[in-house]
């Protein structure tokens, strides 16, 4: 059947997997029940384990179970490959892999585990590179389920994802499992996503290269949650965990977009003392923080908080007193990760606090301004951050659907990338519904969602901000690159895109080659 963003969702998937088609971005006030997890009672003296094979045995891992990992080590992760290799070696079959996301460094091992029959189901925020290619060519029988960070938190709480064993790499821990990510060799700052696994998995295993004396504080993961602690040689490569010093873009196109994004923000009703924002990473988004800083100083406006994935430029605003608090679910660079140890106003938050639609109120609900990116955006303002111009999986939902519920959601994207139009008639894959997008900013001008009459009024005479309809921008893009041939897919689904409330918003099919 057709869902509310006009995507055909196969009836057998709705039925077999017990899905509802996407209806609305409104969450309302439904009642829900969280699941409980098993507890193996311990006095704490039996937690330290010598090796990965030994800890796998102790957790009681069995065929058919669900295992989880986090992606905070990003491209510097050693833990996933270490643990997964051992699980493959021991011949486990039919496991569900439920990490917070999958980074490129994990790709080869996931493919190996699928080929060995060890992994038969996957749920993730996204996937890229060789794994995205493998899945998009039909490498896994069961479609991958893709969820936003907030939706993963929701799914863990309500039992849609029931984690049997969580293997969580940490830069330090004491022998009973008090751990944080702000000290040690492989610091990554906020442990945001992994905190859900620590709270809800039946068995929680920490892997670390640095054992601290008891009690190790501050403790982000607490001893009450942890079953076992394993000492390994190295949990990650510090140079690959986050990018080094964040450099501002010199790309004139990105700078122009950033300047225009700033104009949109500062001319909106939300730009006043105490406003809040999320910028994310990426060239234009980072440059926005520089323009925003200048505007805040000029107008004597301070932000109450900055949210989300945090970068050094955001920390600089905190230290300068232009931002009062940072709510930090993950850190994108070394500067942001390192400052967590020193700034008491840089608050670590878990992914439920960050973005969960089904709790008693998440930080995204308090958010005024949010800047997000897009691979594609269509004339209905629907956004694709998942499939590339060849239809292959190459992205992640991340917090996109969640943060898009800000009062002013801005998509910053170039009109075209090379020969590929960013503004199109219909996106390949709908990830974030157009209903939650307010303004698109490109290098030639902006388009405002017609339902935001207030913004159309506020932005109608801003110098340097030409306003177009989104149809006009689509035509401009097509005039530059030409009309592409439609992509060809088979009728076999390879990935299901959930909306943050767990309804089905789109289906990704196997590509035809």
């Amino acid at each position: 059947m057709l869902n509310k963003v006009n995507r055909e969702i196969p009836d057998d998937i709705l039925k077999e997997k017990n899905y509802k088609p996407f209806e609305t971005t409104e969450i309302g006030n439904p009642e829900t029940t969280y699941v409980a997890h098993q507890v193996r009672v311990s006095q704490g003296d039996d937690k330290l384990v010598d090796s990965i094979p030994e800890v796998i045995e102790k957790t009681g891992l069995k065929n058919g179970m669900t295992i989880s990992f986090h992606h905070h080590f990003r491209e510097g992760d050693f833990v996933f490959n270490m643990v997964m290799q051992e699980i493959i070696n021991e011949g486990f079959q039919d496991l569900t892999l439920a990490p917070s996301s999958l980074t490129n460094v994990m790709n080869d091992m996931v493919i190996k585990a699928i080929k060995a029959g060890t992994i038969t189901h996957i749920t993730s925020s996204g996937m890229r590179g060789s794994l995205g290619d493998f899945i998009s060519h039909g490498g896994l029988k069961d479609p991958v389920v893709l969820r936003s960070h907030g939706n993963r938190a929701r799914s863990i709480e309500n039992g849609d994802i029931k984690i049997d064993v969580a293997f969580l790499g940490v830069p330090n821990s004491d022998p009973v499992g008090n751990a944080n990510a702000i000290h040690g060799d492989a610091v990554f700052g906020s442990m945001g996503y992994s905190l859900m696994d620590a709270k809800y998995a039946d068995k929680v295993v920490l892997l670390t290269d640095t054992i601290m004396p008891y009690p190790n504080t501050p403790a982000s993961i607490e001893q009450t949650q942890v079953d076992y602690v394993v000492k390994v040689a190295k949990v990650g490569d510090p140079d690959k965990i986050g990018s080094g010093a964040t450099r501002f873009t010199k790309d004139p196109k990105e700078l122009k977009i950033a300047e225009m994004v700033n104009q949109v923000i500062t001319h909106s009703q939300y730009f006043k003392d105490g406003f809040s924002f999320q910028t994310g990473s990426g060239g234009a988004a980072l440059a926005v923080s520089r323009y925003l800083r200048k505007s805040m100083i000029e107008k004597n406006i301070k932000a109450s908080f900055a949210l989300g994935g945090i970068t050094k430029p955001t920390v600089d605003l905190l230290e300068e007193g232009l931002v009062n608090k940072i709510l930090d679910v993950q850190d994108f660079d070394k500067g942001a990760a390192a400052s967590m140890a020193n700034n008491e106003n840089q608050q670590e938050i878990d992914s439920s606090w960050y973005a969960d639609p089904y709790n008693k109120g998440a930080a995204v609900n308090q958010l005024d301004v949010c800047i997000l990116s897009a691979l594609e955006i269509d004339t209905k303002f629907n956004v694709n951050v998942m499939t590339g111009s060849d239809g292959v999986l190459r992205g992640a939902i991340g917090g996109h659907q969640d943060a898009a519920n800000a009062k002013l959601t801005i998509i910053s994207a170039p009109l075209v990338r090379g020969r590929i139009a960013t503004v199109v008639n219909d996106v390949t894959t709908v990830v974030t519904p157009g209903d939650s997008i307010d303004v698109l900013v490109t290098e030639i001008g902006v388009a405002i969602n017609p339902k935001r009459k207030d913004l159309i009024e506020a932005l109608k005479n801003v110098p340097g901000v030409p306003v177009y309809t989104i149809e006009e921008l689509q035509k401009r893009a097509e005039a530059i690159v030409g009309k592409p041939e439609p992509l060809e897919f088979t009728d076999r689904p390879v990935a299901l895109i959930e909306y943050r409330d767990g309804s089905l918003i789109d289906t990704v099919y196997q590509v035809k080659d």
């Binding site: 111009s389 060849d390 239809g391 990338r417 090379g418 020969r419 590929i420 530059i480 690159v481 030409g482 592409p484 041939e485 992509l487 060809e488």
Partner: protein, 97 residues
Amino acid sequence: MEIKHTALAGTLESSDIQFTLSKGTGVEINLDSQVEKQFGKQIKKVITDLLSEYGIENVNVRAVDKGALDCTIKARLIAAIQRATDTQNQPNWEVLG
């Protein structure tokens, strides 16, 4: 017009296309493009149209495309043709016009 020797034009930078023209029998186009699925046919059409405007009937065309627009494709191919036919100093104004 005849291809006199192998010639190259263009780079492998993003949004560019690199042509290598060499002697051949008939027109043979070997296209490697990042946007083959969406624009492969269109790119080949630009190439064959331009070759026939120059009256080139025997050539091996190797094109490595990094998402170039049609105008770039034409410019690079004209450069490659003139180099391969030693006509850099006698531009074909009818085609260029």
